[in-house]
Assembly symmetry: C2
Homo-oligomer: 543 residues x 2
């Protein structure tokens, strides 16, 4: 027997319609290259409707992919609503990728239209000969700025001219909520980037769940500075959830340095912001020299993208009197999966105990089921000690990549494998201990490379440490520790082994320690373990 | 093109699974007839699974209706999850209805099983001969309490015996999210009660949306006293949303008097409670005499069910240092439609201006579209002045009643007619001015009976006033004011007319004022305008 409730599909257009009708005067503020731009939810809606008509006039059809190469701004927000609103797919491209990756992604997505910020003109004019599907390019600027740019990109259209060419008499079409709304590629360390194709349904459910008090806690009186780029998993869904809650939304454009961020936070009275650890570190560094730049109304900071260090959380909370909420997720998860979700005993805890919980990745919110499994797919206990591969299931988690790249990515029970290795305690707090590809598999048990590296850092002479698994005839793999010492300091293998012995189980101790003058890093500054594994592929451990 | 996200249906069972797995230790506390009972989300889940197996063993099948006649308690909560979890339909019956209505409702729903609190034994034994579909009766008690009760209801089963007879090895079935989950009858003033049949989807979406910070703002650190009965539109969805947020949940049982409520609020450290105005008035009355009973941790109070008076809101906020959130909705809306949703200018307003907004019914939350229309279905402006029939649309609003009673209830655009008449201002704040059936239709314009009644109350001698429409040859209807004076006081027609003249437009003035010794009321204490219209059907207005 079916219920007798109205059959209203969950559509992205409902968000902007709601924000415009109930929170129409609430501001949407953008820092553009030439200064601060002020808009409102009402105006965003009006212009999104004009833009929708312009896109239709350009021949964009339901299902077509429309690409953006853009920083966070009101125009990018209008595109979020206009493109998905007409049933086309917004493909937010990460401009930080290498040109070859950009070409691959845009061609793979078969984008028909590409809209770009002016600063990406040189990049796009280089890419253009290799882009096989893009029929038109649009500059996110007015006609005056577009005219000279046509020397670099002939045929370039002006965004503002397109918008101005249409009126706002437009009714958003109603269609199946499982229709694709947006597309975002995730670049693993191996293979080509893979596209995650979000639906209207997954987008709305994620926005609703992430508005909860224990996660974003958005409301009509919050003012959000969205530092997370809108090309990173839909800016953690905030362009949607802010509309749903009627919050004031502030976009930093390309200026993500500490000074610019502090100025915007302070000037707009932002109460909440979200970004990766680097951005928060930049803010703290700026405030050390310019305490007068302190954002006085900032109450909460959300950190995700990579793990926030204990020291970063502690500094933000003490120096800025703000609450830090540590989130974890990934592009395949829309992206939020876990958040602070403080337990009821919180108030009875010491600040140090609270910090112990804050550095963890948090607990799943409703809608995300999580389990940890061993090599054989067996579920492991939630005892805070056993660590296994994290698998997740839920209505805003991917079931396959675009064009089925990478084949089947969910198991027979429908769980997606995150590639993270973690423990989960009895209260559900998850702590990532490693990436699955970095964990050392020794005699059927797992050794965390990150735990070993952190243990080695306890030696005062160690600047950086990397642990990788080396093939072993008996144990399958055994750990090799590579240590880079601080300039002018020394350490011996035995000293280091002594330090490790105090921190990890005996069978975790590396079979060999090598001192190196430099460790390789990726473009984003992470240890390049893939490179290390290649370098030491044929290394023989002492027996 | 469809998105590539996981196809996970929104099911009620996901809520209790989540609460048990992440917030398992969080308490669920009930006041029973014999004292306080303590449980937890983990135990509720375990027992709900045992109960689910017991229901299946009793022959309950997907789609079957299972009725409850019960106050709020952990057992009622277990039934919420067990019945809907197996795909059957939980029919929460309001024990305050007249016996004939109860018989009608239970037979109309074709309930196969009826579970009841011990205090309803005399009632149910009286109803039993008239209940044509109920095959079994279950007492929400243990065997010891059930044995003597079998004298009143032969064949009665014990709830605790049923639960104890099963283990908890049970996997909730997965089915279509549009499957019916629960059924609640709403008794209009005319015709038979009509059933609203909620789906799993509508229940989950309503729970998600009502968790938002501007509505319930539930979190894992809140403690909620659910005073609203679980037979009133699923207790405003709190049995679901509290699980979703992992909040501590406290049930008052049958004891809704001020003393009992204060004791529970204080003893359990409740931070939040929700109920109709009467309950809050009872609390205030108790605290006047017993200031030591003040619930010290109570921070927020949600009021709905009927409009909260300005004086009640002001008193609660000043005397209890709590925030009052005024909600509006109805059984057909799951039930929450609007909430406080304070505007950004809130902090700049005086407390009197804030109160002006708090007494309004609030603004729609995302997911509810609202319009006001005139007699011809034309949409009226949102100017805070024009008042019209309130129509709503959204995924947790009814599209038809059970068994299609009352025929079509949505218009061609899918909007449901609430029967309320209201204004909406430019910010979206809605204020109810009348019930549609009570509004006086004069020459194509509407006159609010409630506004006229309130205006008449400004005369110090008027105890109560009622305004109804009387048929008029030229104007269709014209207002008749019936006034009951305070004992020992006097007033004249002219005096009253003079008072009204200062408050309402000239064409609103009643064509006649009659002084009466008593005004008729309904069982729930409201003015019985249906009765008045019958009494004065043939009344001739002076010309």
């Amino acid at each position: 027997m079916f219920g007798l409730m109205q059959d209203r599909p969950l559509l992205v257009s409902s968000l902007i319609e709601y924000a415009a009708s109930i929170h129409g005067d609430t501001e949407v503020v953008s820092r553009l290259a030439d200064g601060i731009h002020r808009s409102s939810w009402r105006t965003i809606h009006t212009r999104a409707k004009q833009l929708a008509k312009a896109l239709l006039a350009l021949g964009v059809k339901p299902g077509d992919r429309v690409a953006t190469l853009a920083w966070n701004s009101h125009r990018h927000l209008e595109l979020y609503y206009a493109v998905s609103g007409i049933g086309a797919v917004l493909h937010t491209v990460n401009p930080r990728l290498f040109p070859e990756q950009l070409t691959y992604i845009i061609n793979h997505a078969e984008d028909s239209l590409l809209l770009l910020d002016a600063m990406f003109l040189p990049l796009v004019s280089k890419l253009r000969p290799h882009l096989s599907t893009v029929k038109q390019f649009v500059l996110l600027a007015d006609e005056a700025a577009t005219t000279p740019a046509r020397e670099q990109l002939p045929g370039l259209l002006s965004y503002e001219t397109l918008v101005a060419g249409q009126d706002a008499e437009f009714v958003w079409p109603v269609f199946d909520e499982n229709t694709a709304a947006s597309l975002c590629y995730t670049s693993g360390t191996t293979g080509n980037p893979k596209g995650v194709l979000y639906s209207h349904r997954s987008t709305l459910l994620h926005a609703l769940a992430s508005c909860m008090k224990d996660i974003l806690a958005l409301s009509s009186r919050e003012c959000v500075l969205l530092i997370v780029p809108m090309f990173h998993a839909n800016g953690w869904g905030v362009p949607y959830s802010a509309a749903m809650a009627g919050a004031k939304l502030v976009f930093p454009g390309a200026a993500l340095d500490g000074a610019s961020v502090c100025e915007l936070l302070r000037g707009e009275g932002c109460t909440l912001s979200m970004g990766v650890p680097t951005v928060w570190l930049g803010m703290l560094a700026h405030l050390e020299k310019h305490p007068e730049a302190r954002p006085t109304q900032l109450r909460r900071g959300l950190i995700g993208g990579s793990a926030a260090a204990r020291s970063l959380i502690a500094r933000l909370e003490s120096e800025l009197s703000m609450e830090v909420i540590h989130l974890w997720g990934m592009t395949e998860m829309s992206p939020v999966g876990t958040g602070a979700l403080r337990p009821r005993r919180w108030e009875a805890m010491t600040s140090d105990q609270q910090l112990d919980l804050k550095v963890k990745q948090g607990r799943v919110m409703w809608g995300v089921e999580m389990k940890i499994v061993d090599d054989n797919g067996r579920e492991l206990p939630h005892d805070g000690k056993a660590f296994g591969l994290v698998k997740v299931r839920g209505p805003w988690i991917a079931k396959s990549y675009f064009k089925a790249e990478g084949g089947t990515i969910i198991d027979e029970d429908g769980f997606f494998s995150t590639g993270d290795v973690a423990t989960i305690d009895s209260e559900g707090f998850m702590q990532i201990t490693d990436r699955a590809k970095d964990v050392i598999k020794s005699g059927g048990e797992w050794i965390s490379s990150i735990d070993l590296e952190n243990a080695a850092l306890a030696h005062p002479a160690v600047q950086e440490a990397a642990v990788i698994g080396i093939a072993h005839p008996t144990w399958q793999e055994r750990p090799l520790l590579l240590a880079q010492l601080k300039p002018g300091l020394t350490a011996t293998r035995d000293e280091l082994m002594e330090v490790l012995t105090q921190k990890v189980a005996k069978w975790w101790l590396p079979d060999e320690i090598l001192f190196v003058s430099e460790l390789p890093h990726t473009a984003t500054g992470k240890l390049n373990k893939l490179k290390l594994r290649e370098l030491y592929r044929d290394h023989k451990l002492p027996t």
